[in-house]
Symmetry: C5
Subunit: 91 residues, 5 copies
């Protein structure tokens, strides 16, 4: 999984029917020092994450195992809101 | 998922029989400022997207969950036409 | 999927038994202007492609959905011979 | 699989219910000379690895085959603690 | 699949029980001119490959389809020993 922050939303009215009702968020992967990585991902929010929150994002077939995504054509899902992460400074 | 724009078409008459009748489109991933990324993907259109439209593209095994792709040997599918996407300028 | 051209062959006599009888081809991904990309892939040919032909290559678990690849330990397959591809010059 | 070292932990109280009780560790892929690679991965620890240990990390759908991860929305898991690895100096 | 050469071994005594008895090899992807690529992969040997041999490596969920890997948490497997590979010099 990766750590990302929520950046925006995607609106698509003409779409696969199994996407109806899904919240599609644009997230940006971040580094461990909090800075942005390049690129972005469109992920389905499955935990009710809010803007400015750091989230845990799963990719690939496992995104379909997230709550509510069974049999959905999605390859990326937000599966947690991150309270904090800690990096061992000695390591 | 990623955001891409439709760039062209692929014609292949000699192909896996489960690809018959599928529309194979060349799409180009784009950045959030609308500029092109490098590279391209050949994706099956499952939502009737038109040229010049921005689309949502799913990759990997989940492409087979898109409408009509069950058991097809495809790893990329267009699953939505994007009306708009919004990036929080403060973030 | 990606567009590639056929570059060579791989011979392996000591191999997984489900690879017996499979044609293993070395393919090189190409750009939309016809030039080579860096790198290569070893893919199972499932459509009888010939040298110098441009082909459509699927990757990941979907390669096992290509004709004859069921339950084979393969992650890349040639699923079509490309007659032509067209890129919209205005886009 | 890749070789990584354990770098830190992630705390997330609001998360997919199948993640409850899972230990989410931040790991850093390393090179064969022991130096760090760029980037990081958040992986579920399934073997009780300790800080400063080198671990074996599996990615993709196979992460769900690791002990205790069945049907979990995870794409990365620690599946072994590495005692040693040896690189043939002549090769 | 990719072509790689065998570089070393990994020893891990504390590991997922489905890895017991598996031979974990460090392999290095090579270019078509025989030179090394950067990076490495830890793959399960399923064909009894020897040091200094060039091997065929499969990645992703298909690694679990290699002989003996059913339901194992592995994402990379050696599935063939390469006798030779030939690149068409005119292409």
């Amino acid at each position: 999984m990766i750590i990302a922050r929520i950046l925006g939303t995607v609106v698509a009215s003409q779409k696969d029917e199994r996407l109806h009702g899904k919240k599609l968020l644009i997230v940006k992967p971040i580094n461990l020092d909090g800075t942005d990585q390049s690129g972005y991902i469109v992920a389905v929010d499955t935990v009710g994450a809010g803007f400015h929150e750091k989230v845990l994002v799963v990719a690939g077939s496992s995104a379909r195992l997230a709550e509510g995504n069974k049999d959905c054509p999605v390859d990326s899902a937000i599966i947690g809101v991150i309270d904090s992460f800690e990096v061992n400074s000695e390591s």
